[in-house]
């Protein structure tokens, strides 16, 4: 009887091998303003909310804060009014595979890791942390086809992969004169982290991300103002035929979680690539572990 070997790259690895040992948290009475500040300062997407006993009672993400901005809630409102209860928690001793399962079932991109006290958090594990670990693992693998050989350069494998093979071939966009309100509706409906802004003539002129919306909220900008007042210009994009490695480089340096992809001319944006897509594709892409490649999660 054949034995099916279910061993994958992640087998044997635990949450503690990939987690970040810092979980930013605020007290439930702290204001939305304070949360927005921490999210900008530490460039994170969400933080934990604790009660007087430091026990985790909720989580506030950029999306929740954007919702508060949309609803016209004053920025000094306590976080308990907008937090999402019961964040997804796992233990540092859990396997990475089970943590990934948790992310899939709950449709989240990060889980918080408990400490010695199961009601307190000791760290956070994000989807891209696992992608990163997988990347490093593959880089060291003896069977990695990207390893230097007499006839191949180190980056030959990466060069073989082109952006368009990996990107999401659809883009959410708004016009620059549309209100910040409309942008927020689009981000929410599309479940994306940023939206492309087009001029009246349909040329890409900027990007508005959730971070830009947080800053607008903090600066007291009215949600009725046009998108052009808060957008980031110019649009950072890469060519459809660019090697994937170049695009990853762009994202790491620009510290963005996504990059738009243009075809032929920068005015023709045809897709978007997220950092975790990029990491996932570069990892486990050789025959040695093709079968164990981790699945794509829905959403941004």
């Amino acid at each position: 009887m054949p034995i099916i070997d279910k061993k994958s790259v992640l087998s044997g690895l635990k949450v503690r091998d990939a987690m970040r040992r810092i979980a930013t948290h605020l007290h439930k009475q702290a204001s939305i303003n304070e949360a927005a500040k921490l999210l900008i300062k530490f460039r994170i997407n969400s933080l934990l909310i604790v009660d007087a006993n430091d026990e985790v009672i909720g989580v506030v993400s950029k999306t929740n804060i954007m919702g508060a901005y949309y609803a016209g809630i004053p920025i000094e409102t306590p976080l308990e009014a907008i937090m999402m209860p019961s964040p997804v928690l796992c233990s540092p001793e859990d396997t990475l595979e089970s943590a990934l399962d948790l992310m899939r079932t709950h449709k989240v991109h990060r889980v918080f890791v408990t400490g010695d006290d199961p009601k307190q958090a000791s760290g956070v594990l994000a989807y891209y942390d696992i992608c990163g670990l997988l990347y490093r693992y593959c880089h060291r693998c003896e069977r990695n086809v990207a390893r230097p050989r007499a006839s191949l350069s180190d980056s030959s494998m990466a060069d073989a992969l082109r952006v368009h093979e990996v990107m999401t071939p659809s883009v959410f966009f708004n016009r620059k004169d549309e209100s910040i309100m409309t942008i927020m509706e689009g981000l929410e409906a599309g479940n994306v982290g940023a939206v492309l802004i087009l001029s009246r003539e349909g040329q890409p002129v900027g990007v508005v991300s959730k971070t830009d919306l947080l800053m607008a909220y903090k600066r007291g900008i009215s949600p009725e103002d046009p998108a052009k007042s808060i957008m980031n210009s110019p649009v950072r994009s890469c060519d459809y035929d660019d090697p994937l490695v170049l695009v990853i480089r762009e994202m790491v340096f620009a510290d963005v979680q996504r990059l738009f992809i243009h075809r032929e001319t920068p005015a023709n944006i045809v897709g978007v690539l997220s950092l975790s897509d990029a990491a996932r594709i570069r990892s486990g892409s050789c025959r040695a572990c093709l079968s164990s490649r981790i699945e794509v999660l829905d959403g941004p």
Binding site: K41, G132, Y135, R136, V245, V252, A254
Partner: protein, 159 residues
């Protein structure tokens, strides 16, 4: 003789404004280091009424500059790092001092005694403590000043 903050505080110092961009703040850091002939590791943030509203340390700025995913990409030896600084500087231009400053500050008054100051510095790992009088920032006590003040005193007593 009672030694207080008044005796060891510096009264000439540079401050930042909350609405400044981080790029502007960096210029003030440089200016402060040149003027004070010692490197500034942190600057206080005041509003238009000289009231203390926060503090920005070099650490806060470096935190903003560090590529978030750099630990993940540590083994990407096929990347070249040219252009990295331009990108981080772009970020420094959009983010303001008020976005990264620490607002949870400990302050003292000009009458706080020296040994209490030492205690605060040790317990809270602070290198500089703002001195407030009637809500206004009037001085800063630096750890080096306290240290050398105490060392000089103890040196005198042993000889």
């Amino acid at each position: 003789m009672t030694v207080t903050a008044r005796d060891v505080m510096d009264t000439v110092f540079f401050t930042l404004r909350p609405g400044m961009s981080v790029a502007e703040a960096v210029k003030i850091f440089k200016l402060a280091s040149e003027e004070q002939k010692s490197k500034s590791f942190g600057l206080l943030v005041t509003n238009d009424h000289s009231e203390l509203v926060g503090m920005v340390s070099m650490f806060d700025i470096l935190l903003l500059m560090r590529p978030k995913h750099i630990h993940i990409w540590g083994e990407m030896n096929d990347m070249d790092v040219g252009g990295f600084l331009d990108e981080t500087c772009r970020r420094a231009k959009i983010v303001r001092v008020e976005d990264i400053m620490t607002t949870d500050l400990t302050s003292i008054t000009p009458d706080t005694q020296l040994l209490f100051i030492v205690d605060i510095m040790i317990r809270k790992h602070m290198r500089r403590i703002p001195v407030l009088e009637d809500g206004k920032l009037v001085g800063i006590v630096y750890i080096s000043k306290v240290f050398y003040y105490l060392m000089e005193r103890s040196g005198c007593e042993t000889t």
